[in-house]
Subunit: 372 residues, 2 copies
């Protein structure tokens, strides 16, 4: 899995287009990739990472960049969703100012979705926006590193404070995935199969058939799955950069998923786990609204093959979930907007979903819990 | 000065183009203008104002909007630069969430530059960006309300945290200027004459000749001056929305001006006062670098005609000013970028300015103080 096998795909966004490089051994060649992407070496770079990832890969990335002629400072934040706060954001801005980052500087996110979102929001707002490079170290981040959505959380709602800020480059070194805890592998695969569920039945079925290889982090399967997942997302984002319409389909499972994360308390559920439950709920809703027969059953099988949760604990407060969904960004002009599958590989953006139908689906996911 | 006299000019930015309406009696017709600008009435609006402006105009704007079918909530922040903080920003986001603002909502800034920058940063980052309407109540805001630059301050540097976020509409009711304290009138006129100094000798001379009428807030002079100032800025911003090159000329006087504000402590100098001193310094630097003869003397006369400061107090620490400039965003890849006039109405973006030359100019502005 050396450089020879690296694949590059491009997210087409006019003058904001950028490459995603996926392969092994990329960290050590980071300086070359940054230079190719047009990041100048006269201004300092800042790497943002977390205290899980930093001990494993930070020094390697720092040396690769220093060796390649870049000046680098690093900032390490506590691992976990709690770091996506304005307080941590402010600390990073302070660090960037003290390190002398200027308009030609770049901020690199070395880590998963949390680090990407946080560092991306710093890059998107520092001096009104400077260069941003994603170096994802999780499977989940194949999703969050494409599309330019960056944000921090507000105590009342997730990702409430953010901007659209496209990276210059995504450098996906799959070697870093070997150190992922199994639970995070599974959670990451939830976003991968999501891309099949919304856009490409064949890919959804491929994920299902190759679930054991993916769970074992078999390189060939992993590179294919990440590449296909990124490519689907890139295709959707290219058509609708700022989420005016089409892009909303990427939120399959997220309306309920975000509510589950908020009600359970950030960190109790991994993001991928919460949206797996959300995707199960959406499939059930979809089948009831006249989607293809077997939609719900098949979705459940796919998610279970990836060892993902598809039910809710009995004691999770339905009304608290409903209230959290009402605060979610997916509400617009007072109506509930819900991404509902009509078949595997196809979803619709439903703006007429009745709150009671959602309440009913939540209750039924709890019954499933009892019977499982 | 009723609606009949309102003038509309358009900032041309492709799909982000927006109108600036300048005239009397506009507050009362706000709902019509918002509707024309495409702001839907199904989602709540939030007006952000400060405790100087709110007692004068907030109720009128609220009634005008409610009467026109909009739901409105308001948030009043303390007047002054201190409100451009992440803390106040966070309070406004909380208020917006609690009031149920969604992606179709708009945030209105009723006030001067501080309220515009702060409310604009909320609008630019709430749910990754929602609609924004500027309702300026100061002369200074004719500058800040055009161009989409919004930001809050970091304790280490001004406007360090921000985004580019274009408004949907600027509604400039000149009736509101009648309640401005004279000191703020003068400070606002500094940005007006700046537009002449960088782009249009004729307009600079018009400001000079009409200084007494402008200081007296004579409506005809005011509407012409604001319109011409906005038009010059709009022209520059249209050619360079994200400040890659040309737009930097708008920063005439700002490199030193921001340093003066920071070193004196935010709030001691009004922004317009600080940049007046900065423009005097830039003219002196420009003349020394080979600009037209009389450049400095004429600039001084123009600024003095508007009763603006053009010297520095003896006890202002030169090295503190130099250090503050080094932290300023105008530094790029280690070099000092300075906007330097070559004649009245024309400036160059100099990237080779020597720190000692700037230090020398600062010292000479202090000597002027002694001799005045």
């Amino acid at each position: 899995m050396r450089n020879a096998t690296a694949k590059t795909l491009t997210v087409e966004l006019g003058e904001r287009s950028y490459p995603i490089v996926i392969g092994g051994g990329l960290l050590d060649r980071a300086a070359d990739y940054l230079r190719q992407a047009g990041v100048p070496d006269k201004s300092p770079l800042m790497i943002v990472s977390d205290d899980n990832v930093a001990p494993l890969y930070l020094e390697r990335l720092e040396s690769a960049l220093s060796g390649g002629g870049y000046r680098v400072v690093s900032a390490v934040v506590p691992a976990g969703e709690q770091s996506k706060s304005l307080t941590v954001y402010n600390d990073l801005v302070t660090r960037a100012i003290e390190a002398g980052l200027d308009r030609s500087s770049a901020i690199l996110a070395l880590g998963g979705g949390v680090v990407g979102d946080l560092a991306g929001f710093v890059a998107g707002t520092y001096m009104r926006g400077i260069r941003f490079v994603q170096v994802p170290t999780t499977i989940l981040a194949h999703d969050s590193s494409v599309g330019g959505k960056v944000a921090v959380n507000h105590p009342l709602a997730k990702n409430m404070i953010g901007v659209f800020h496209q990276p210059e480059l995504v450098l996906y070194d799959v070697d870093t995935l070997n150190t992922l805890p199994p639970r995070e592998v599974r959670a990451g695969l939830a976003e991968m199969v999501k891309h099949g569920l919304i856009w490409d039945r064949e890919f959804a079925e491929w994920c299902w058939n190759n679930a054991p290889r993916l769970l074992d982090l078999e390189p060939e399967a992993l590179i294919y799955g990440l590449e296909r997942g990124c490519a689907i997302k890139a295709q959707i984002v290219s058509r609708d950069e700022r989420e005016n319409d089409l892009r909303a389909i990427l939120n399959l499972g997220h309306t309920l998923g975000h509510a589950i994360e908020a009600v359970a308390g950030y960190g109790r559920y991994l993001h991928g786990e919460a949206i797996a439950v959300g995707m199960a709920a959406a499939a059930l809703l979809g089948e009831e609204r006249g989607g293809e027969t077997g939609l719900y059953a098949e979705t459940m099988l796919m998610l279970r093959a990836l060892e993902l949760p598809v039910t809710l604990p009995e004691d999770m407060d339905t009304e608290a979930l409903m209230a959290a969904m009402q605060r979610d960004k997916k509400f617009r002009e007072g109506r509930m907007v819900y991404i509902v599958p009509s078949e595997i590989g196809r979803v619709e953006i439903a703006s007429d979903v009745d709150a009671d139908a959602v309440r009913d689906v939540i209750e039924r996911l709890k019954e499933k819990e009892e019977s499982s």
